[in-house]
Amino acid sequence: MKFWRLIKANLFRKKVRLLLTLGSFMVAMFLFAFLAVVRGAFTRTGGIASAGRLVTINRVSIIQPIPLSYRDKIARIKGVQAVTHYNWFGGTYQDEKNFFPQFVIDPENQRKVIPELVVPDVQWANFLKDRQGAIAGAATAKRFGWKIGDRIPITTTIYGTGGAWEFNLDGIYHGQHADDDESQFWFQWDYFEERVPDRIKGLIGWYAIKLDSPDEALRVATAVDNEFANSPYETKTDTESQFAANWVKQFGNIEFLILSIGSVVFFTLLLVTGNTMAISVRERTGELGILKAIGFKNRSVLFFVLAESLAIALVGGILGLGLALIAIPVLGSALNGLLPNLILSKSVLAVAIGFALAVGAASGLLPGIGAMRLRVVNALRRV
């Protein structure tokens, strides 16, 4: 491309300005990637929300329990392949800041309902035999340096008199997809029920239901809730993804928050680069006049300006995303597992580059059209 040299020369005309503009793109792209990742982490809570699964909670709220006796009734509903139940333990390991979710599970059905979180069969067999056994997600095990056979004390303030519950780590599970949650910690219902006060016995937190077919989600959900209507523990059943979305709403309207911050970033960037391009074109009025006098067409002049702003956008965007690629994993571990799914996916990267190019094109367009419309005689007269 024989015009590239001219474009490049114009790009490097004011090096400080170029660096600052690249810097704004970098920061904005970094922020964009970060926001997208946080949004992803919230909306993806707990691995891929499967359309083939339902979650049943107490109609009042997720923190209200429901009876274990519902299990067999749910299992009998047509379209239900398997059902398993959970309690939230809410304990801590060593330090209150070390957050990770602990679930009381039903070992009999866990693997039928959530097959994507895989525990090697030998480890699973040991777990079943061990009343105080526990299974940890690979991420959590790695985070605390746990090995199979370790004895793990978990402190709880919710159940009983405080003090630590001791567990034996019998196995480690791995997710099968990149965004499966590998931070959970599981232990057995029988052990839990034995130790909790009487008033809590026989009550579980929520059910997870595996469907014969995702198409039946609505019918089965309605059937479950009808089954327990007018009982002291009415239920609310949703698909797993709907449940995850409701869960996120607990934290306030994250989506809206992120969207607003994102828009502010977008417009600020647009104004900053638009202004920079406008100034940089204006101070070149005479030169643009010369180029046109020599015989450069209007569309070439527009092309030069657009190429310049797009080049800045692309380079700045790539730098910002590169920074994000390095920083987001670091940030993820600094958050102590609070947001387990900080993943900078290819689609986020692609959207971010598209976004950068859109800002580049938009900010170059007006000055470029101005340059295009510029009349040579006026350009050369202006001092």
């Binding site: 001219l6 005309r13 030169e287 006049g289 180029l291 015989g295 040579v376």
Partner: protein, 247 residues
Amino acid sequence: MVSVNNNGQSSALIQVRGLNKTYRRGGEEIQVLQGLNLDVDKGDFVGFMGPSGSGKTTLLNLMGGLDVPTAGTISVAGDEITHMSSGKLTEWRARHVGFVFQMYNLIPVLTAYQNVELPLLLTRLSGTERRQHVEAALSIVGLAGRSNHFPRQLSGGQEQRVAIARAIVSDPTFLLCDEPTGDLDRKSADEIMALISELVAKHAKTVLMVTHDPLVAARAQTVLHLEKGVLVEAAKSQHGVVVGGGA
């Protein structure tokens, strides 16, 4: 070839007939050119003089296809340029006109070489051919050794020579120079004028030049004065240029 007051047929390279240019500023109309006629032959070197605001730049811009007249026609080598679309006019300029201005001449971020190469980027010439042309043009203006210098590393006179090299590199039909020595000291101005004279004498270029400086104008074969919107021939007239006005 010499004829006076020509507003009819001729075989001149550049033929200007009944040229009018009126600027509108606010409600006010400024009539700058009023029925101007001019014939210029190939190889002529014409100097234009006149008081500030008399319309010299206006005339040059019109002949260079940078602006369109209010009335009248300009034809160059048989092409009538006054009715060309702006896209066509741009192409025409690239092929036929070499410009040298007083200011803003060079692109500061490009080297002398790259500045001279600019017009050739609009042609189909290969990289090697472009190199040959640029080197030839730079050596005609005596700056072969300065190819890689940026404008800010050159003196005013040298910058103007680079601009001349750029104006001649694509071998245009004629050169338009608007006060090419306006910003230069006497010595540099003399050097530039020696160069332009040489382009006319040795390389048979056709040059139209605006200047305020009588010493500079004296280099031209013919000096024309712009007065009240028409051209008037000055005393020193040797050959080739026909002027007229009124119509």
